[in-house]
């Protein structure tokens, strides 16, 4: 087998050196009854050619050649080939968690740079590297708030990504964390009065997302006031990192939980992505996940090490701040490379293009009789439209034109049938936007 670097003779030599006659003897410690008699019934073995052919067939059964207007936590953004070229260097791709600092400085400096970039984007003091994704980052942020406040009730805006709220619910259910949801208003933002009445002195955190699931920006400073008035923490989730190139960062938040997929990671049917938790320096010892810090050797050379490990499971076991071990380091590397390439001006331009194209798309769609925007709040590159008929029906028609239309919100919000979430990024061309508008217009003209 091509992955195995041994010849039959070498195997025999090694068995002889060990002092056994057959490989079977080395498995004697497994009770005979449990040892398999027959070979496993698995497909393969396949050659490289066959493996590639297999996956190309699968790829052809997917949405190749379709234009899509989907966002909702996973965004189609430009990814430079430079990022992937570096990512595939064996020194990064095939290395382990950098516990042995002397031969892991490459990964460690990258993590340190990643932490810095995340702080700069979110205007927070410290950031970790990394959490599994945005949904678990948001959930761990809630648990972190619980630890920090000693309170066990969190209020979550319904405008937070539905699947993020499901993950939070799963973790909360058994760890004694009580979760209550706060409605959204006509602007698509969290209902402030409702929040004010719901919040109390047992509230550990107020959890919102901005831009939220409807693409609408939340009023972070006002929310911070409400939360802080009750000594609760404000947790802000971010699924669309590119927004930070144009949108005011959540500086007033106590904890920011971000999904970094927009920074150079492919949609890849939902993962692997990279979650980040950023917060205030004073909260760092309750932070979950890995942290790299600066250190010096005996000669005074600057280097980096994994630090504050006393928060982690391998040291603290049942008292750890989280059970996370393997994380998303390679995705954090991709995000670091991607953001370094973009730079300050690149990120600004990208954000402005997203903003411009999304607003252009809305204006095109609003020209269609019966189509209007569902919420009034300011938005970045996603917005909800209301249609005169079922989104599913309309999408079915659009598919014939190789367009994957708006995400039907009825699936997640019973009250939001006929509402669709539209996402437009810098990779969407004007022609594609105009085609969407034209086809949607035509679809609506057809009798049901």
């Amino acid at each position: 087998m091509r992955y195995l670097p041994k010849s039959p003779t070498e195997r025999q030599e090694m068995l002889a050196a060990i002092g056994v006659k057959s490989i079977g003897e080395l498995f004697q410690s497994i009770p005979a009854v449990h040892r398999l008699k027959d070979a496993l019934r698995l497909p393969g073995p396949l050659s490289e050619m066959e493996i590639i052919e297999f996956f190309q067939k699968r790829a052809s059964e997917n949405a190749l050649g379709y234009v899509n207007f989907l966002g909702a936590g996973v965004y189609n953004h430009h990814r430079s080939v430079v990022t992937d070229a570096i990512l595939q260097r064996g020194e990064f791709l095939t290395s382990y968690t950098p516990y042995q600092a002397e031969i892991s400085q490459g990964t460690l400096q990258v993590i340190f740079e990643f932490q810095t970039l995340m702080c700069q984007l979110t205007v927070q003091e410290v950031a970790n590297a990394s959490m599994y994704d945005g949904s678990t980052a948001l959930t761990e942020a809630a648990l972190m708030a619980e630890r920090l406040t000693g309170r066990s009730r969190v209020l979550v805006a319904r405008s937070v990504h539905p699947e993020y709220r499901q993950v939070l619910a799963t973790y909360a259910r058994n760890s004694g964390l009580q979760v209550e949801e706060i409605a959204f208003n006509a602007s698509g933002q969290i209902d402030l009065p409702a929040l004010r009445t719901a919040i109390d002195n047992e509230t550990a955190a107020v959890i919102v997302q901005s831009p939220n699931f409807f693409g609408v920006l939340e009023q972070i400073p006002a929310l911070a006031e409400v939360a802080h008035a009750r000594e609760a923490l404000l947790v802000v989730g971010i699924t669309e990192g590119v927004s930070l190139g144009a949108v005011r960062p959540p500086a007033e938040a106590d904890i920011v939980a971000m999904e970094g997929q927009s920074f150079g990671l492919p949609p890849s049917y939902g993962g692997p992505f990279v979650g980040v938790i950023a917060s205030r320096e004073k909260f760092v010892r309750q932070m979950p996940g890995r942290l790299a810090g600066q250190a010096t050797d005996a000669q005074g050379h600057r280097g980096f090490v994994l630090t504050l490990a006393t928060r982690e499971q391998h040291i603290r076991r049942e008292k750890a701040t989280s059970n996370i071990c393997t994380n998303q380091a390679l995705c954090a590397l991709a995000a670091t490379i991607h953001l370094c390439l973009l730079g300050k001006e690149g990120l600004r331009e990208q954000a402005q293009q997203n903003l411009s194209k999304a607003h252009f798309a809305l204006s095109e769609l609003e020209k269609i009789p019966g189509v209007r925007r569902a919420f009034s709040g300011a938005f970045f590159n996603e917005f909800v439209i209301e249609l005169p008929r079922s989104v599913k029906l309309v999408n079915a028609a659009l598919l014939r034109d190789k367009i994957i239309g708006p995400l039907a919100l009825g699936t997640f919000y019973p009250e939001l049938t006929k509402r669709g979430l539209v996402c437009v990024t810098e990779t969407t061309t004007r022609a594609e936007i105009e085609r969407l508008a034209a086809m949607l217009h035509r679809a609506l003209e057809q009798p049901v």
Binding site: M1, Y3, L4, P5, M14, G19, I23, P31, R35, L36, P45, I51, F55, A59, N62, A63, V74, A85, I86, G90, E91, F92, L93, T94, P98, E102, S104, Q105, G106, V110, T116, S130, D133, S135, T136, L143, T170, V247, Y269, G270, G271, V284, Q294, A295, H301, G303, R316, R317, N323, A329, L330, L342, G343, E345, G346, Q350, A351, S356, L407, I433
Partner: protein
Amino acid sequence: MKDKITKATRHTNQNEALIFAKSAKGKRGVEFPPLDVPAINPQAVLGAAHARQEISGFPEVSEIEVIRHFTRLSTWNYAIDLGMYPLGSCTMKYNPRVNEFVARLDGIATEHPFQPQGLSQGCLKILQLLEECLLEITGMDSVTLQPAAGAQGELTGLLLIRGYLQSRGNPRRKVLIPDSAHGTNPATAVIAGYVVENIKSESHGQIDVERLRELVTEDVAALMITNPSTLGVFEQRIAEIAEILHAKGALLYMDGANMNALAGVTRPGDFGVDVMHLNLHKTFSTPHGGGGPGAGPVLMKRFLEPFRPVPVLTQLSDGTLSLDSNRPQSIGRVRAFCGNFGVLVRALAYTLAYGPGIRQATEDAVLNANYIRKKLEDVYDLPYSLPSMHEVVFSDARQKKNGVNTMDIAKRLIDYGFHPYTTAFPLIVPGAMMIEPTESESKEECDLFVDAMRAIAEEAGANPELVRTAPHSTRVGRLDEVGAARNPVLRWKPAASSEAAD
């Protein structure tokens, strides 16, 4: 003694400051096509309340500078592609390049989790085939691919157990965990709402079955066991252990991190395991990438199936695959979307490459570990002498006498051109030296490792200072971790730029 070192040499290596030190206003590494719609000014449409002013300190560099920056940094890393990576419990095996290729295909890497399922049949078929393969390899009945890593798999598994017990009236209070277990086990149990009770291992490092019998009460939800144990030894009385638990209505959870010792040879489903996780970034060769990503599928017996996280993959009568979220008894979601799909793609590519031949990989892994054990047992202390499977755990007991500990030996291995083994785990072995070569190492590489370890043992006697002060061949020496933790510097700051960024 230096002359003993044949595997590595010192060579010139580029220094490199932090990326922030290279920043200058106006440089950039990415350009965009001209905007093809009317340009909108953020201030105008977002208003002062929502528009961002400045991204303070954010780098501005060119493409060539980015290439050089990260290429230089990469040369400071050790990696599987450079040599043996014998980290015990981590299964650092070869990461096949074709797996990277297929995971990046248009139509695979480009797919959106919310696109119509009718246009996602390729992705869903990949998930289905991987599920079937993992079930066949483990002998279990049902599976979820959603967990993002082993630790999340553990949580998912315990929540399945909790959901099941709950459904029968009482989730119970305790989870039993051997003192040899990995830190994620107890940490996870707490998140699942359980109290951890540790079990001391018996003198051979196995589960103390008699003690277990006493501990297993109606209050115990499950035992989390790692098999082979973190000593690399198979739990000989595993079936009996399962019976003890089942007799009291408790379940057996198996941490499958060491599945590389079993694949194709024996199946947890056949020796009484009720639920387990796999680390696809270990046994199934997906690249560890400096810390992740991974994937921690959870496999279970039929009676736990109703509790699987949503969505679950189902096949409709017409044969099309779909994701079903309407599962009343489900424990809910543990992660958004469909898990680390890209990692699952790689794991399937790996499985298809071997097919039934995966047994050969297991045999070679066990062969390598036993070969190294045999070649080193006369110079290093072997605290537990039961037969090793895929890894062997020595201790620094003998070298300690000269004031040389497992960390010193590990660091000295770096000078000999190897990544160290796992130190200080499992906790039941003071000064543990946990060596897992995996099947990816040739006899040549194993022999070089043995030579290095023997040479270091000699140095520990003849010149302990040399070992204590190792490594001597790296661009930085041992770093002051205590100082780093005392006043942590966790990010670069412009103020300190001249200092930190250089």
